[in-house]
Subunit: 409 residues, 2 copies
Amino acid sequence: MFSWLEGWLLRKLHAAAGSPGVRLAMPSGAQAGSAAAAAPSVVIRDAGTLASLILNPDIAFGEGYSDGRIEIHGDLLELLDSIYCSSRDKHDPAWYSRLYSWWLQIMQRNTRRGSRHNIHRHYDLGNDFYKLWLDRQLLYTCAYFPSPEVSLEEAQVAKMDHVCRKVVLRPGELVVEAGCGWGALALHMARYSGVRVKAFNISHEQILYARWRARQEGLQDKVEFIEDDYRNIRGRFDAFMSVGMLEHVGVSNYREFSRVVRRCVGDTGRGLLHFIGRNKGQPLNAWIRKRIFPGGNPPSLREAITIFEPWDFSVVDVENLRLHYASTLEHWLDRFEKSAQQVANMFDERFVRMWRLYLAGSIAAFRSGSMQLFQVVFSGNKCSSLPWTRAVLYQDLERQEPEWSHAHG
Amino acid sequence: MFSWLEGWLLRKLHAAAGSPGVRLAMPSGAQAGSAAAAAPSVVIRDAGTLASLILNPDIAFGEGYSDGRIEIHGDLLELLDSIYCSSRDKHDPAWYSRLYSWWLQIMQRNTRRGSRHNIHRHYDLGNDFYKLWLDRQLLYTCAYFPSPEVSLEEAQVAKMDHVCRKVVLRPGELVVEAGCGWGALALHMARYSGVRVKAFNISHEQILYARWRARQEGLQDKVEFIEDDYRNIRGRFDAFMSVGMLEHVGVSNYREFSRVVRRCVGDTGRGLLHFIGRNKGQPLNAWIRKRIFPGGNPPSLREAITIFEPWDFSVVDVENLRLHYASTLEHWLDRFEKSAQQVANMFDERFVRMWRLYLAGSIAAFRSGSMQLFQVVFSGNKCSSLPWTRAVLYQDLERQEPEWSHAHG
C-alpha cells in the first residue's frame, strides 16, 4: 500500500519535471519514468525526501543529493541534461517554492554589506581550492574556444584577447575593471594592450592573490588592485570592463550600476559587460543561491540593456557564448573530479557532492539553453574608438608569449 | 525693433538646438549662432517660418526647407551634422510638438489597412525613381562594407552574404522573408544558399518587380513572392528573415509580430531581424513621419528584444552597423544629386528638396548616433543550427558570380 503511494508520487514528480528520460526509484521498489536499462536513475532513499521533492524540487534535489539521501545511478550529467531539456517548458513553480525563492532573495540582498557577505561565501573558499580545477591563471568565467578542441588554458587566454579586442584598447589608456577575480584580465590588459588598470573586487582572498601576482610580474605600477565595492569606483576612464560580476549585482541595483558606468566613461568611453544571462527574467535556481551563489541574479538581456538606456549609450555588439560556457564547465568538472579526494580532505564529502552537482547542473543549464552567456559591448554617444567591422576579432594574433605565462604552472 | 525681436528669437532657437556651429539669419539682417565665415547658415525667409520653427522645429524645418522658405547657404550635410551632434542632449520637445507627434502616430497606425496605406505612400513612388539612386539590385536597406571603400553594389551583395551566413542557411531549407522589398535577398538566398523562400510584401510595385526578376532569372520555382501582410504568414519554416521591415511594424504590434515569428519557426528554427533602431525608445522625427515614412517607428534594442522573450528564443548575436548605414546613405545621396533633374521632372522641385533633406538628415542621424542599425540573430530553444563562433562571417567567400548579376546594369 505504502509502495503504491510512493509509485504514484514518483509518477507525479516525473511528470512535473516534464517526463525526462530518467528513472525515479525508491528502496521499496516503487518506480516511475523510463524503463530503459540504460536510463540513469534517481534513487530517493526515504519518504521524507520524496515529499520534499514534490514540495520544492530545486531545493530538495540539491539538498538530498548533497546529503546522500538521493543517489544517482548512471551518469549524473546525462541525467541532468535530460531533466533540463525536458523541463524547459514546464509550468511555474508552486507558490511555496516561489515564496522560498523570494525569501532567499530578501535574505541575500546585494546591498554593500550583503554583497560583501555573499561574495565572501563563494570566492573566499580558499585559493588552493580553486587552483585544483581552474586554469593556471585562475579565470573563473566562461572561456572562449576558437575551436572546440583547444585547451582550457588557451581558451581562457583567447577569451581575454577577445574582450580586449572587442573594446579596442590602446596603449596609455586608463581602464577600470569591476569584479576582477584573481586579476588575470587586468594583468593581461596591462601587459598586452599597454593600458593602466584600476581593478575592483570585494573578495579579500582574490585581491591578495592578484596583488601578489602583479608584483611577481612587475606590473604593480600598471595595475592597481583595490579591495572595494563597484559602487565606490571614482574617477574617469577610457573603458569599463566587467567580466562575470553583473550576475552578482542584482537587477534591483542596475540603476546604481548604470550611474557608476556613466560616471566612469562619460559619453566618450566604451566598455564591455560579460555575464551569465537568461532568455527572460526569472530567479536563479534556489538551491544554487542557497548553497553556491548567494545573491546570484543572472539578468535577461533586456534587463541588462536597461543599464545603457538612461545615458544614450549604444549597444555595439552582443555575442552569446553559452556553448562555450558548457565547454568551460566540462573542463572544470573534469579537473574537479580528478581532485575530488583533495577537495574532500579540504572540506568534506558533502561539499564535494554539492560542487559536483553545481558544476554538472551548470553544464546542463548552458547546454540546454536554460542559461546564456552574453558579452555586450557598449559605447558613449561621442565615442569614436570602435572598429569598422568585427573582422579584427577573427584575425590571428601575433605576439611573443612571455616567460611569466609559465610561472603559474 | 522688429529686427531686434527676430535676433532675440533666432538666439532662442539656436540655443534650443543645442548651440550648433551654424548661423541663423533673416533677410532683415538679424543673425544668431556662429560668426565664422565658413559656418553653414540657415536663412529663414519670413517671420511666420521663424515662429513655426520655435513652436515645432522638426516639422517647420522640413516644411520650410522643402518649400524654399528656408534656404541653406553652405553645405547642407555639414549643417545637419552640426545640428544633430549638438542636439543629442537637448531637452524634450514642447508639449505642442509632442501632441502633434502623438496625433501623427494615431493617424498613421500600422493596422493591416494603415500599413498598406503607409507602405504604398513610400515604396510605390515608382520603381523608375528608386532605380535612379539605389544599387543595381534595388536594396533599400543598410549595406555592409567589409572595408569603407568598397562600392555600393559590392556592399549590398556583402550585406546579403552577411545575413545569410549569420543564420547558416542550408540547401533544401525553407525560409520566410517578411518585407522583401524588390526581392534581391530572397533571390540571393535561393541562388547561393539553395533554400526555398516565401517572401512577403505589401508594396504592389515592389512585388511585381520581384516576380518579374524571379522569372528573368529562372528562380520562380524556388522563390514565391506573396503580396500580403506579415500578419497573414502561415506555414512552418526553418528560418525567419526580415531586413528593414521592423521599423514599419510599430512597437504596439510587437506582440502580434512575435506570435507570427514563433508560428513560423517554432522552437527549432532561427532567424534574423535587421532594423533601424534607437538607443532608447522615442518617436521618429515628426517631419520624416509626415512626409517620408508614414508610420515609421524604429525601436530601441530593448523594445525589439520583447519579441523574443515570450517564446524562450535566445538572442545569439547583435551587431550595430550604424556607420555602415551612414555610408550607404552617402552613396544614395550622391547618386540622388546626380539624378536630381530627372527626379524633378518625375515629380517636382519640392519633392527633390524633401528627399534631399531626408537623405542628408539620415546621414547625420546615423553618423551622430541618433539612429542605430541593428542586426539581431535569434534561435529557438531547440535550435541546433548555429555556428560555434562568428569567425565564419569573416572568411573569404569563394564563388562564381553568375551572368545574371550583370543583367540589371
